[in-house]
Symmetry: C2
């Protein structure tokens, strides 16, 4: 009935996520996206409406890929006890930076930018972070010695730590913080568990 699409929508979305992840919502220019996605203006607007709609799809993809993977790791008993799983989350973060990944967290970057003024974007960002929050809380619940009443507060502390570290990862600042952050988190966990 009509001409078929010459590119794979899913793959284009994946590439768009990489561009937004590196540059943020506003600082990712349309030429940046077109280059990264490998298509032209006409195709992009035909397939994804406009820049904001594309970003909302990317946020959704990020949540169902990156965030859900982290939550799955935090909640799967096969990965060890709760303490091990939490430390694995932060260890993965440090390892990524050591490997040259300075993109930080797509959600955190969006949350602190002017993009957060948009209701739909803010809502999507909030959903992703809340999901991560619950993942951390679930892992904490699998650590012995931590009172149930302390779980939420501790989870919030760790989520804040996670956000701070990902911002530092993005900054490329030689503060020497990331290198010993896992030990710092381990201290928090071990001293909370008594």
């Amino acid at each position: 009935m009509a001409r078929p699409r010459e590119f794979d929508t899913d793959e284009a979305l994946e590439r768009a996520m990489q561009v937004f992840w590196q540059h943020g919502y506003q600082d990712a220019s349309l030429p940046d996206l077109l280059d990264g996605m490998g298509l032209t203006r006409g195709s992009l607007y035909k397939a994804f409406k406009d820049k904001k709609s594309l970003f909302l799809l990317v946020l959704d993809r990020y949540e169902s890929a990156q965030v859900d993977a982290g939550v799955a790791m935090l909640t799967d008993p096969a990965n060890g006890d709760g303490r091990t799983r939490v430390l694995a989350l932060f260890g993965g973060l440090v390892a990524a930076v050591a490997a040259g990944d300075h993109r930080g967290c797509l959600l955190c970057t969006a949350a602190s930018s002017a993009a957060a003024d948009d209701v739909e974007i803010a809502s999507a960002v909030h959903g992703g972070l809340a999901k991560l929050q619950q993942g951390i809380e679930a892992a904490i619940a699998d650590i012995e010695g931590i009172a149930p009443g302390d779980r939420l507060r501790l989870a919030n502390t760790l989520l804040t730590q996670y956000i701070g570290l990902r911002m530092l990862a993005r900054s490329r600042l030689p503060m020497g913080i990331l290198e010993q952050s896992v030990e710092g988190v381990a201290d928090i966990l071990d001293r909370a568990a008594r």
Copy 2:
């Protein structure tokens, strides 16, 4: 010999800081700055060279005003013991947000934006954060029961916590984290001191 400046340079710089604080370096447009500072293009370029030079002056002002004030509070024994001083830092942060201040941290915002690619800006940002790091470490040194070898790591953990909280403050997300963050920090301190 010449016509005197009709505006106060210091006051203009203060207003410029407010604009950059709220919008970040890139997202603060020239009209934004002109409106906020209450002067015209000709005057701004005559007095401050260009946008980047103005921002560097603002970063310097931020460090010698906001950061130094925080460090002074962290290091002055008149404000109580080290624990009290650290908690006051975070308490002030929470109070500011509760009062409607969602500007976050000028240094943190700059650090995570593309402005950090500029060497001079990155250097100034690093200097400010390092100063804060040392202030926190000094306060920790005044807490009994914390081994000297643990101070730096604990200071880094708290600085990360501080950065994360200020990013959350900027996001306006209703995560319910800021409200109980002081208790979370108190837990970290109390459990580290044994």
